[in-house]
Structures are given as structure tokens and as C-alpha cells.
């Protein structure tokens, strides 16, 4: 050791608060919506741009936490220069777009989509769709008497291609018996508008289980497990994320289904309490829907970063212990 020179000297303390490095301004796009000029980020969809102006665009198959599939076509808007209407949920904004969201063409298409759904699907547990139907003056009755419901498994067995020609005296529907094959949730495909959300949530958008997919073709298209087996035989892991995204109540907690059947389901008597799931360290937010001091349903808010609305089987369905069954009997089942 020859000298006492310090071989490392820390840099002087900054005299000002450090700032993040400068980011380039996100590119933005100018467009016109209903006559109003608006500037939005270049990667926004028309739906987002409409939202920024406070325009309420109806959607059924769209959800913030899923990839847009643009199949319900209720969010269509009129784009100047385009031959057809365009779906707001998936179409990304382009410079100079001139969009009308409430033109006669748009209103007609939205009304007809709602009439088509209302005349073929049971929308009784889809308040949002009912509200849209009222807004656009949809009249599903004008297609005639609904056809008699199909028998159990009948729609699932339909093959693509030729069908029996109707005589036009009744309007074809997807009405069919409810599928009740497990204790956790039911599938009432008479209420299914085929929005693809459950398939997306079961697949790459959330769960990566791929237990269900769209099968069949045309009006006979339906959601199905592999080979149409009951859920307990399928790949389903009962995360319930399909229930969480279903917009029409076609997928429903067994508890809700039974209460509805008994005429006991009453949302005005329900409270909703947000808490953290007790099962593991991830810390998912649970919303407990409680009626008459019993948990009747569990959801998770879409805007929570931990879950984005998705849960697993434990958080979704593992709440029975709260109701405090007979602990002794649980611990010692033999008596």
C-alpha cells in the first residue's frame, strides 16, 4: 500500500430529483367522430376513441380483458368511404377517418342484430342486451312465433350442411334444455349468443385450458367440449373464468341457478364485498356477492391488475367453508 488514494469515488449526489429518460411522444392520429375532431393515440381502436368523447357504443362480444373478436357486430359504425360498416371494437384508428356512430345505417344494423338475437336467444338474464334492445327499438316478435325448443343433445348432434327446410311458420331459436352436469356451474345454451368470450377465456386470453371451442357451423354453431362430453369428463378445470365473461347468464354459478329456480334470487337484497382471496400468496381480489348472509357468487373486478377479472377454482368456488358447515363431521367423517 503506497498511497491512500481512494480507488472508487461515488458520483456526487444529484442536486435535483432524477427524471425518467425522455420518451418519444406516442404517435397520435386525428379523426372526426360525429362531426367532432378528436386526437387519440395511434394504437387506439375506434371504440376507445368514441369512449374518449363520451359516446356510449353498445358491445356484447367485447371485453377489456379479452382480444376483440368482432363477431356480434353491434358496435358497428359508419366510416366514410367504406363499402360496409366497420366494427368499432377491433378497428384501429387511421388518420382522417370520418366516423358516424348514430347514422340511420348504424341504427338499423344495431336494431337488426338485437332483433336477430332477441328472436333466437333467451335474453332474460342479459339486462345489458335488453337495455340496448330498448334503445334501438328492436322488435324480435316480428319474426313470428318461436320454434319449439330442441330436445336434449339435439343441437349438439347437428351436422354441417343440409338442414330440414323450415315452413316459415315459426322462428328458429337455440332454445334447449339446460346442461347441469356438475356442482359448480351450469350451461344454459338457450341463452348463448355465441360471443366467443368463454372460448377466449378458456384459451389463450386467460386460462390456457382449451376445454371448450366453437363447434358446428352456421346457425347450428355452438360451444362444445371435446366430443361433446359432460364437463366432468372434459379438460375443464373449473376456474369459472368463462362464467366471469359471459354476457347473458348462459354460464351461471350453480348456486345462482338454484336460487333463480326457486324464485329466491334477488339482486336488490345482495351486497358486494371486495376482499383478498385467502388461499395462496398471489393476492387476487374477490368480490363476494352475499344474499341473506350467504355467499351466492364470487367475481373479480376487471380493473384489478392482479386478476384482470380472472380467478382459479379455489377463489371462484372455494367459499363454502365460510358458511361454517359441521367442522367435527368434516374432520372425522366416520362419525
Amino acid at each position: 500500500m503506497s498511497t491512500d488514494t481512494v480507488w472508487f469515488r461515488p458520483p456526487p449526489r444529484p442536486s435535483h430529483t432524477p427524471q425518467p429518460p425522455e420518451q418519444p411522444e406516442p404517435a397520435s392520429v386525428d379523426l372526426t367522430i360525429d362531426g367532432q375532431a378528436v386526437r387519440v393515440p395511434a394504437d387506439w381502436t375506434i371504440l376507445q376513441a368514441c369512449g374518449s368523447l363520451g359516446i356510449d357504443t353498445p358491445t356484447l362480444c367485447y371485453l377489456e380483458n379479452l382480444t376483440p373478436v368482432n363477431v356480434c357486430r353491434i358496435c358497428v359504425v359508419e366510416l366514410a368511404g367504406a363499402r360496409t360498416l366497420v366494427p368499432a371494437c377491433s378497428r384501429v384508428v387511421e388518420p382522417g377517418m370520418d366516423i358516424r356512430t348514430d347514422s340511420p345505417r348504424v341504427r338499423l344494423s344495431r336494431k337488426m342484430v338485437l332483433e336477430f338475437l332477441g328472436s333466437s336467444v333467451d335474453l332474460s338474464t342479459a339486462p345489458q342486451a335488453q337495455a340496448y334492445a330498448a334503445r334501438y327499438g328492436a322488435c324480435p316478435e316480428r319474426y313470428g312465433q318461436p320454434h319449439a325448443p330442441s330436445g336434449p343433445g339435439e343441437r349438439d348432434a347437428r351436422e354441417p350442411g343440409h338442414h330440414h327446410a323450415p315452413d316459415g311458420s315459426a322462428a328458429e331459436t337455440v332454445a334447449q334444455p339446460v346442461k347441469v352436469d356438475n356442482d359448480l356451474y351450469i350451461r344454459d345454451y338457450g341463452k348463448c349468443i355465441l360471443c366467443y368470450k368463454c372460448v377466449e377465456a378458456c384459451g389463450t386470453d386467460a386460462q390456457n385450458t382449451f376445454a371448450i371451442a366453437v363447434a358446428g357451423r352456421g346457425f347450428d354453431a355452438r360451444i362444445s367440449t371435446e366430443g361433446n362430453v359432460p364437463l366432468p369428463d372434459s379438460a375443464c378445470v373449473y376456474c369459472g373464468n368463462c362464467i366471469g365473461v359471459c354476457p347473458t347468464g348462459a354460464l351461471m354459478f350453480r348456486s345462482e341457478f338454484e336460487l333463480r329456480k326457486q324464485g329466491q334470487w334477488d339482486e336488490s337484497r345482495q351486497t358486494r364485498t371486495d376482499t383478498i382471496c385467502p388461499y395462496c400468496g398471489v393476492g387476487c381480489t374477490l368480490s363476494l356477492h352475499v344474499q341473506d348472509n350467504r355467499i351466492v357468487k364470487v367475481t373479480s373486478p376487471l380493473d384489478v391488475e392482479v386478476t384482470h377479472g380472472h380467478l382459479c377454482i379455489k377463489g371462484r368456488f372455494g367459499f363454502e367453508f365460510v358458511h361454517g358447515g359441521d367442522l367435527k363431521a368434516d374432520a372425522n367423517p366416520e362419525g
Partner: protein, 620 residues
């Protein structure tokens, strides 16, 4: 991906059928034996490799279907294991195509076309006879089918025989005796190429540019093709270079012949300039539009021209791989195209270093499995990729994001057959043929009540009247009731509008469409209400079911037509007419793809001017 299998184990025969397409399994991941030395004790190799072959799902399902006559659950599970496809998704794919069955079926099934052209040529009588001899349709020995693309020889049937050496035979004109004879003989039927002359009434005319070889030379002989001038255009294209070829195609003003009439040169230019790689060429040979059969005749009669057109396309757009998607109902076209691909490959005209010019291009043939919608370009991509044939939303367009997400040029068979002609004549020379707005020769599929139905090659500009006259006019001195122009997705033309000029601009001015070149003639004896009901049923059957306007709209449209036919409208007939307008409007405005957007065209055009379902004449 944690896949769940619960079904029966595949039998040895099922495994063999699948392995005939996929090859033997190479790892435990793909359902083979576990090789500890390679894979170790913990990992399973091959997940990514297996998933990357998902596009073999359809070929594997075809192998199983044609081996057993149906798709047994054990075979589906085995395919899923091999390719790492979730079984639920495979179920969705199998149930999408009407040539696959998940229920056991007889090994021999006759598909009988009861679509528009065959209907007016006795298809119903044929169905009645088959019901008498083979039992009711639900027993599965025979089945009604949408248009089989043999309208010039109607009525048509397709006999499929599953087994170790499966057979597929198209019969047209099909008689009851022919069908029964084929079932008992058990022999493969070989049509000579001369029989194609029945489909090309102009055969032998030296002025033919696109149909010149059909029925004249052996379509299975590469030498015959080359002796008749084949492959000189590819040589010339190589001299011009890729940019030069695109320049000629742009100058030719060639418009796509599949129905949408998009300028081919612009499509090519966009793909050639797209930075993403690789690029793909797709030949859309999923010709399923009722009344259309030109692509079948081209593939059966001049398969090398299709290959040469594809090769020039690949050369010009910088693509090394082409896919030829032939509809599953065209057994002879499939066989001849396959032979042509093999012969071209053996002669160094496909593969690495084509014509020793230093570029690579090869073609793979894929078969459809019975779905009209797969003729829509993005549905076709999904079908090749092993998914349900549901159209994608556009934009992005295929020239940027196409097959496997890469820039793709997709052209119809007839479009591609024009390419060697353009290269030979030069773009400007080609543009002088036809009219200024519609260049080149055009094929028309003339069928129905005419004396000489078939594919006709004419220069753009001929009038509908002259074309029908060229086909011998309406026989038996009957008057024309209507003409369906452009197929089921096209429009009806009444007798007052027969002077329409058959060009893109002429039909547009007349408010009709050229579509894929269908000219289906109906004489006064035809019940147009019955034809409309068939068109409505067709769209209800063939809608993919993805979007609401088309999925439900096609059903409501069919119900409405049937109410009119049975004389029981809801409200007045005028109420029904305005309801149909609204149904048509939402399908046209809000459907994802062209199927829904055109599903009411023919029906609305007929109801507007032709009074196809006269009041008080209930047909039931």
C-alpha cells in the same frame, strides 16, 4: 399446453391412417415411445415442433375419414396428441366440414347435388330413386349436397368409398343406374381427357387462349404441355425478372377472376414489397359458388398451366412456397393437379433452382373438406392452418398478414391461368383484348336451360344475349324466364335486361354483378320460388356462424321465403318485402365477410323485378 385425453385408445388401423400423413411419432410428446437417451428423464422434447405442424390437422382428418368413412374418437385423440391440438378445438374443426362425420357411417356414401342447376335437371327425381333403392337419407348411404361444380353435365353426384384404397368418383350426368353400377363394381372409373370436350363446347377452336389445350392434349403429360407451348412463359418471366413480370401484370390490367375483381398486379406488387418474410402464394381452387365449374375444367384439362401460373407468381413476389387449395368435392381435379405437381417437380420445374434459374418454388396441394366459406380468402388461410374456416376481419389484408400471418398473394385458378398468357403477349398486348375497363379473355360458366351448356371463353364485351345464343339458346322454343348472373351470391336478370354487356363496368352500370362468371339460364317452366328457396337454404347451410347478421339473418331470410311460398306471410306481402330489405341491409352492412354481404343479393333482385312467388299460387 396441458392436454386432456379421455377417449378410447386409437386402434392400430387408426394410428396407421394418421401416420400415413404425419409419419411415425418421433418422441414421447407426439405419442411415440419414450427415448430416455435423447429426452432425458424430466423433459419431453417436441412440443413446439408438434404445434408447428398444426396445418396437417385437415390432411390427417382426411386420411382417417377416407379410411373408415367417419372420424372415430380414438383417431381424433391420436391426431391431437401428435400435433398438440386441444381436443375441443379439433372437435370444432371436424364439425365444421360436411365431408367429415363424427358418427359411424356406411363406407360408401353417394353425395347427390340438389343445388340450382341440378335441380332443374332432375336432381329431385334422382334423390327419390336413391331413397327407394338405398333407403332414407338419414341412414347415410346417400346424402344431399350443395353444388358439386358439374353444372354443365347436371345432375351430378359424388361417390365416396372409404377403405384401405379409398375411391372418389364424380358422376355427371349421374343416373341411378350409374350410381348403383359403381357401387357394385368396386372399380375405379377413369375418364379419358377427351370426355372434357363435353364441358368445352368451343373445343377445337384455334382462337381459344385459355381453353385451347383442354380436351386436346393429355393433361397428365408434361411433354404434351411443353409441346403445346407450355413453360415458355416461365422462361420469358425469368428473363424479365420479378419487377419486369409485375410491370407486365400491372400493364395488363388483369382483374381477379374469383368474383371480387381486384387488380392482380397491385396485389402482387404489395406482396413483393412487403418486408416480412417468407411470402406465400395461395391458389384458391375452392370453387364452390353454385353454378361455377370453370376452375374444375381448367384443373382437369390443363393442370400444368395452373402450376406454371403459380410458379410465375412465386417468382415475381419472392415466394418460395405455394399452396393449392382444391375443394374436397373435386376428385379428378385433385388427382390431375397432384400428378402435375409431381411431374413438374421431377422435371426441375418446381423445387430448388427452378429451370436452373436460381430461384426456389414448390407447391403443396391441400384438399378442402366441404365448406363453401373456405373460398373466402381468409377463411381459406384458417382452413390451411388447421383451424375452423372462419373468415378473419379485414384489415389487415392478406398482402400484409395472410397465411401463417405472412404476406400472401391469393389468386383464383382462372386468374393464374391468365398469367402465362400475359407474360407471352406482354401486358399491353393483353390489355388490348376485351374492353378498356375489362381486359383479357373471360371464362363463363353457362348452364341451366341452354342447348350447349359448358365453359365458354369469350373476349370481354360480349352481351348476355349473344353468349346465350352461342350456347345454343333455350331449347324447345321456350322463352327465358330469368338468368342468374354471378351465382348464388350474384343477381337475377330478367328477360328485359339481357342486352347487358358482360364486362365489369357494364354489369356495374346495370346494377348487377359478374361474380365468378356464372350464367345460369332458366326457361319459363322453372319455378323460381323453388330456386329462391334453394338459394336461401344454401346460405343458411354455408354460413360459418361467426357473426350474428349472417348466422341469424340467413335463417330469417329462408323462413321469410318459405312463408311467402306457403302463402302465409306475417302481415301483408309488402310487410314481408320491407322486412326482407332490412334483413338484406344488415347482412350487407354488418357481416364480416362477403358471404353474408351477398347472401340476399339474388333473392332481393328476384323479388324486386321477377315476381318469383306469385300471390295466391301457394306451392305447398
Amino acid at each position: 399446453m396441458d392436454l386432456h385425453f379421455h377417449g378410447p385408445k386409437p386402434t392400430a388401423a387408426e394410428q396407421a391412417a394418421v401416420d400415413s400423413v404425419l409419419g411415425p411419432p418421433t418422441s414421447a410428446w407426439a405419442g411415440g415411445a419414450r427415448n430416455i437417451e435423447d429426452e432425458g428423464h424430466i423433459t419431453l422434447l417436441g412440443g413446439h415442433a408438434a404445434r408447428s405442424r398444426r396445418d396437417l390437422l385437415l390432411p390427417a382428418l382426411h386420411a382417417v375419414q377416407s379410411r373408415f368413412g367417419w372420424v372415430p374418437p380414438g383417431a381424433v385423440d391420436y391426431i391431437c396428441r401428435r400435433l398438440t391440438v386441444p381436443p375441443a378445438e379439433a372437435h370444432g374443426v371436424v364439425t365444421f366440414y360436411h365431408l367429415f362425420s363424427l358418427e359411424p357411417r356406411p363406407s360408401a356414401v353417394v353425395h347427390v347435388c340438389d343445388d340450382i342447376a341440378c335441380r332443374i335437371k332432375g336432381a329431385e327425381r334422382l334423390c327419390d330413386e336413391l331413397e327407394h333403392s338405398l333407403g332414407p337419407e338419414r341412414e347415410g348411404h346417400w346424402k344431399r349436397s350443395p353444388c358439386l361444380g358439374c353444372c354443365e353435365l347436371a345432375p351430378a353426384a359424388l361417390a365416396l368409398d372409404a377403405g384401405e384404397s379409398p375411391r372418389a368418383t364424380a358422376l355427371a350426368p349421374a343416373t341411378h343406374a350409374d350410381i348403383m353400377g359403381l357401387r357394385t363394381s368396386g372399380e375405379e372409373r377413369h375418364d379419358s381427357f377427351e370426355s372434357l370436350r363435353r364441358s368445352v363446347p368451343q373445343c377445337g377452336d384455334p382462337k381459344l387462349r385459355l381453353l385451347g389445350r383442354i380436351g386436346q392434349i393429355d393433361p397428365e403429360s408434361l411433354d404434351a404441355y411443353r409441346q403445346s407451348g407450355g413453360y415458355t412463359a416461365l422462361g420469358r418471366a425469368i428473363e424479365l425478372g420479378p419487377e419486369g413480370v409485375i410491370r407486365e401484370v400491372l400493364a395488363s390490367k388483369l382483374m381477379g377472376r374469383g368474383g371480387a375483381a381486384f387488380p392482380t398486379g397491385r396485389k402482387w406488387d404489395a406482396v413483393a414489397k412487403a418486408p416480412a418474410r417468407p411470402h406465400y402464394v395461395v391458389c384458391n381452387a375452392d370453387e364452390s359458388e353454385p353454378g361455377t365449374f370453370k376452375d374444375r375444367v381448367l384443373m382437369e384439362g390443363d393442370p400444368f398451366a395452373v402450376i406454371e401460373g403459380m410458379t410465375i407468381t412465386g417468382f415475381a413476389t419472392g415466394s418460395e412456397r405455394g399452396y393449392l387449395y382444391v375443394r374436397g368435392e373435386y376428385p379428378l381435379a385433385t388427382r390431375r393437379m397432384r400428378l402435375a405437381i409431381e411431374a413438374a417437380r421431377a422435371a426441375g420445374l418446381l423445387g430448388a433452382n427452378v429451370m436452373n434459374a436460381g430461384f426456389t418454388f414448390d407447391v403443396e396441394l391441400r384438399s378442402g373438406a366441404g365448406a363453401y366459406i373456405c373460398g373466402e380468402e381468409t377463411a381459406l388461410f384458417n382452413s390451411i392452418e388447421g383451424k375452423r374456416g372462419e373468415p378473419r376481419n379485414k384489415p389487415p389484408f392478406p398482402v400484409h398478414v395472410g397465411l401463417f400471418g405472412k404476406p400472401t398473394v391469393v389468386n383464383n385458378v382462372e386468374t393464374l391461368v391468365n398469367i402465362p398468357l400475359i407474360v407471352s403477349l406482354g401486358g399491353e398486348g393483353y390489355a388490348r383484348v376485351g374492353t378498356p375497363g375489362s381486359s383479357g379473355p373471360k371464362l363463363f360458366c353457362v348452364s341451366g336451360n341452354v342447348a350447349r351448356p359448358g365453359v365458354y371463353e369469350v373476349d370481354f364485351g360480349i352481351s348476355l344475349t349473344d353468349l346465350i345464343a352461342q350456347a345454343g339458346g333455350v331449347p324447345d322454343g321456350k322463352a327465358i324466364r330469368a338468368v342468374l348472373l354471378g351465382g348464388a351470391a350474384g343477381m337475377f336478370v330478367g328477360p328485359d335486361k339481357l342486352d347487358v354487356s358482360l364486362t365489369f363496368e357494364g354489369t356495374r352500370a346495370a346494377g348487377v354483378t359478374l361474380g365468378s362468371g356464372v350464367v345460369l339460364v332458366f326457361d319459363e317452366s322453372v319455378d323460381l320460388g323453388d330456386v329462391l328457396a334453394r338459394i336461401a337454404a344454401f346460405f343458411r347451410d354455408e354460413s360459418c356462424g361467426q357473426c350474428v347478421p349472417c348466422r341469424v339473418g340467413t335463417v330469417r331470410q329462408e323462413e321469410l321465403i318459405q312463408r311467402l311460398r306457403s302463402g302465409q306471410p306475417i302481415g301483408s306481402r309488402d310487410d314481408e318485402a320491407s322486412l326482407l330489405k332490412e334483413i338484406g341491409q344488415v347482412m350487407r352492412d354488418a357481416s364480416i365477410c362477403g358471404l353474408g354481404q351477398t347472401a340476399s343479393n339474388a333473392i332481393e333482385s328476384a323479388l324486386a323485378t321477377l315476381d318469383p312467388i306469385p300471390e295466391g299460387k301457394s306451392s305447398r
